[in-house]
């Protein structure tokens, strides 16, 4: 099974190309060296010795000094379709993904209306086949209309092609409803991805509860709002032998709960977002909702260190952006009133490279492994550069400096947490699902045909 088969993408010619003398790094496949990456008919045909790759009629991309990674996979994006196309749509969102080196994304179901009906899944898939730059999969909601009361027709939704289930944006507050969904999963399959938060504890909170919220007079969201819900759902998943995935881990206590559950044999996976790995609640002191307001909120340095530890030891097996576009007018209001969420697809690799790899906090191999780790928790193939695999490649220049937003965004929205930051490392070319999905404009000019 390939991403192209499992998900939906606009059809294009299969890629035929040679990445000449690329530094190839695919830790999961045990590949680390300089090769000619030969792509034939949309597949990795061969990793040839540098300068020796041959492919008739293929485009030759001089990649000496550039890095070829397996394409990144983001299991958590918001494409805002249907109903909120003023923020993003499938075309712009997947273009942003391609520009960030992603070869596949999974779209959350909290659109307007939420994706709760099998016909809606079918319609989204059709639209993706018409307009998506990279393979995209669609979640359906766990509960009808995300109201947290009744289950959706999970079996029919799966048959319509829903990749999994999630009420992301809102927690499933009722333990009874949560349990029923986990039971029903035995029938329909599909990993249930969970936005973990106790609404009673979060209350009116708009940022992490701690010294910064105390200083700013903003209502806080305590760490335990997240960790107590993860503990509840891990216990339910253990009891029902269900498969769950915890979204956007943000707190140290949450990492502990996930690690303990996994050690006890619970089928649980977890993701963390680039902004939670790079920033803390100190960033909120500027009260800039556009860049620094999201849910879960940026937390303390202790929490950030725990996320990094979890990323290193595998408690957190993938990085997910929680790409959450919002229109300017939804963010140009006082912090408490602003919409929650930041975009991340176009900057995830560059930001993590700049803030974690270059200072030596994590190594490049770990970053690449975790950026490509978002497919497996949903039963999808991990992007790989091993010969024979579907071609999913992110070709990057690790030395390129660029200022985010200076030349606009592929996304329809500009609420990037990196807006205005100068980052080091840039995606030049993306091959997704065996097709060319993106090339940086200034780079393609330099390509020898």
């Amino acid at each position: 099974m390939s991403l192209r088969e499992a998900l939906d993408v606009r059809a294009a010619e299969p890629a035929e190309a040679i990445l000449r003398r690329a530094t190839v790094l695919d830790p999961a496949a045990g590949i680390d060296g300089v090769h000619d990456v030969v792509i034939r008919d949309g597949r990795i045909a061969e990793l040839a010795p540098p300068g020796e790759g041959r492919a008739e009629g293929a485009e030759v991309i001089e990649a000496e000094g550039l890095h070829a990674f397996p394409g990144f996979f983001d299991p958590h994006v918001h494409l805002r379709t249907p109903g909120q196309e003023h923020k993003e749509d499938i075309e712009t969102g997947t273009r942003a993904a391609a520009a960030g080196g992603y070869c596949g994304v999974l779209a959350m179901a909290n659109a307007s209306p939420p994706v709760s009906d099998p016909a809606d899944v079918a319609a989204l898939r059709e639209r993706a086949r018409a307009s998506a730059s990279v393979p995209v999969g669609f979640f359906a909601t766990v509960t009808r209309g995300m109201e947290g009361r009744e289950l959706t027709e999970m079996l029919a939704l799966r048959e319509a092609g829903a990749v999994g289930f999630s009420d992301d944006g809102l927690p499933i507050a009722s333990a009874r409803v949560m349990r029923r969904a986990l039971q029903y999963q035995r029938l329909c399959g599909g990993t249930i991805a969970l936005h973990e938060e106790d609404p009673e504890l979060s209350g009116e909170g708009v940022m992490h509860e701690g010294p910064v919220s105390a200083a700013l007079g903003l209502a806080g969201i305590p760490s335990v709002s997240e960790s107590t819900m993860i503990a509840r759902d891990a216990a339910l998943a253990a009891y029902e032998e269900a498969r769950i995935h915890v979204q956007h881990l943000s707190a140290a206590e949450s990492v502990e709960v996930v690690a303990a559950a996994r050690a006890a044999g619970v089928r649980i996976s977890a993701e963390a977002s680039p902004h939670h790995l790079c920033l803390t609640d100190e960033a909120v002191r500027d009260l800039d909702a556009r860049r620094h307001k999201m849910n879960p909120p940026l937390r303390s340095e202790r929490d950030r260190q725990a996320l990094l530890a979890g990323l290193r030891d595998g408690t957190i097996e993938c990085i997910a952006t929680d790409h959450a576009p919002h229109a300017a007018e939804e963010k140009e209001v006082p912090f408490e009133q602003a919409a929650m969420g930041v975009t991340g697809l176009e900057t995830a690799f560059a930001a993590l490279h700049t803030y974690l790899v270059l200072p030596g906090v994590i190594d490049l191999a770990l970053l690449v492994e975790r950026l490509s780790g978002g497919a497996e928790p949903f039963g999808l193939p991990r992007p790989s550069l091993a010969p024979g695999s579907e071609a999913n490649v992110a070709l990057c220049d690790l030395g390129a400096e660029w200022t985010v937003g200076e030349q606009g965004y592929e996304s329809r929205s500009s609420n990037s947490w990196c807006d205005g930051r100068t980052l080091t490392g840039r995606v030049l070319v993306t091959v997704a699902g065996g097709q060319f999905a993106y090339r940086l404009r200034s780079f393609s000019l330099g390509v020898a045909a």
Binding site: G210, A215, G217, L287, P334
Partner: protein, 319 residues
């Protein structure tokens, strides 16, 4: 300084400059003609998204005493009622080319956003539960007049710290001016991590005797329904400042309006130790000083001799 958005932004020297300026305005306030021409021909806009009596009236009077033209906008009955965004309202008002916009808003950071949208000097007259810098300055002014200096003075801030922008601004200002601050209240109403602002935290009035100044905060009735405190009776029993708890040498302050018999007993409000009336009087001169610092701060002559200095300049020009 273009704007006054928080006390957090102010150094001790900047605070003292405003307090010194307020002293000279206090002198003017004792004259028969209380008006100075400093801001003649300039416009001050007050934009209040929350109801307020003392803050709005004292800013308005301060602007008038400085001879500014005044435009007062209240959210109720204005285009805000019709759904206009803060950004658009500010753009509209900015078209009058105001020298200053004084804004109160129910949300943190509103004044800061406004400052980014207008060339006018922006004064934060309270933003959500974040800051209320003019209140902190007038309280510091009141104390400085009474005590000479805040250095080493022990101040207790008592009550609902969680929901109080006054508590936050005063804590920062008092600390910066050299005082030692203790915040006291029920654990549900003390924000987690507040001690990192440099105060001590306690939950009982047992050691209240250590304080030289007791600053009581307003206790709002709706806090009971949100289960922050079980009842006003229990709150008053544990935290009410009365003449039994207040020692004769201690000073009592409150930002107003007071809930008599809740956070302060009636007899304590009316006691000679109470500075509450002085705080209100200080509000006017401190707000004059704030407007002056922002709009005419570059001009050094003391405002008490403003008329004379302006006259001298005029004479200089004609000479």
């Amino acid at each position: 300084m273009k704007d006054l958005l928080s006390v957090e932004q102010l150094s001790r020297e900047e605070m003292e400059a405003i307090l010194d300026r307020a002293e000279s305005f206090a002198e003017i306030a004792r004259r028969d003609i209380k008006k100075v021409p400093t801001l003649r021909g300039r416009t001050v806009v007050t934009l209040f998204y929350e109801s307020s009596t003392r803050t709005s009236s004292s800013f308005e009077l301060a602007a008038k005493r400085l001879s500014a033209d005044l435009v007062s906008v209240k959210a109720a009955g204005s285009s805000v009622d019709k759904g206009e965004s803060l950004k658009d309202t500010v753009a509209t008002l900015s078209a009058y080319d105001p020298a200053a916009i004084v804004i109160r808003h129910p949300h943190a950071g509103a004044a800061q956003m406004v400052a980014g949208w207008t060339d006018a000097a922006v004064v934060n007259a309270g933003d959500g539960k974040h800051e209320h810098p003019s209140q902190a300055l007038l309280d510091a002014y009141t104390l400085r007049r009474r005590l000479g200096s805040l250095d080493g003075v022990r101040i207790w801030i008592v009550g609902d710290v969680l929901h109080s922008r006054v508590a936050r601004s005063n804590l920062i200002a008092f600390r910066r001016l050299g005082a030692e601050v203790t915040v006291c209240g029920p654990p549900t109403l003390i924000p987690r991590g507040i001690e990192e602002l440099g105060c001590e935290v306690t939950h009982t009035l047992e050691r209240l005797g250590e304080a030289e100044v007791v600053y009581a905060l307003r206790m709002q009735r709706e806090r009971m329904s949100e289960s922050f405190v079980p009842s006003l009776r229990e709150y008053a029993a544990a935290y009410q400042i009365d003449t039994r708890r207040l020692l004769p040498r201690q000073l009592l302050m409150h930002p107003g309006p007071v809930n008599r018999g809740v956070e302060i007993a009636a007899e304590a409000i009316d006691s000679p130790q109470s500075l509450i009336a002085e705080q209100v009087a200080a509000g006017l001169v401190v707000r004059m000083a704030i407007l002056y610092e922002l709009l005419a701060g570059g001009e050094r002559p003391a405002p008490a001799s403003e008329g004379g200095a302006a006259g001298a300049t005029a004479m200089g020009r004609t000479a």
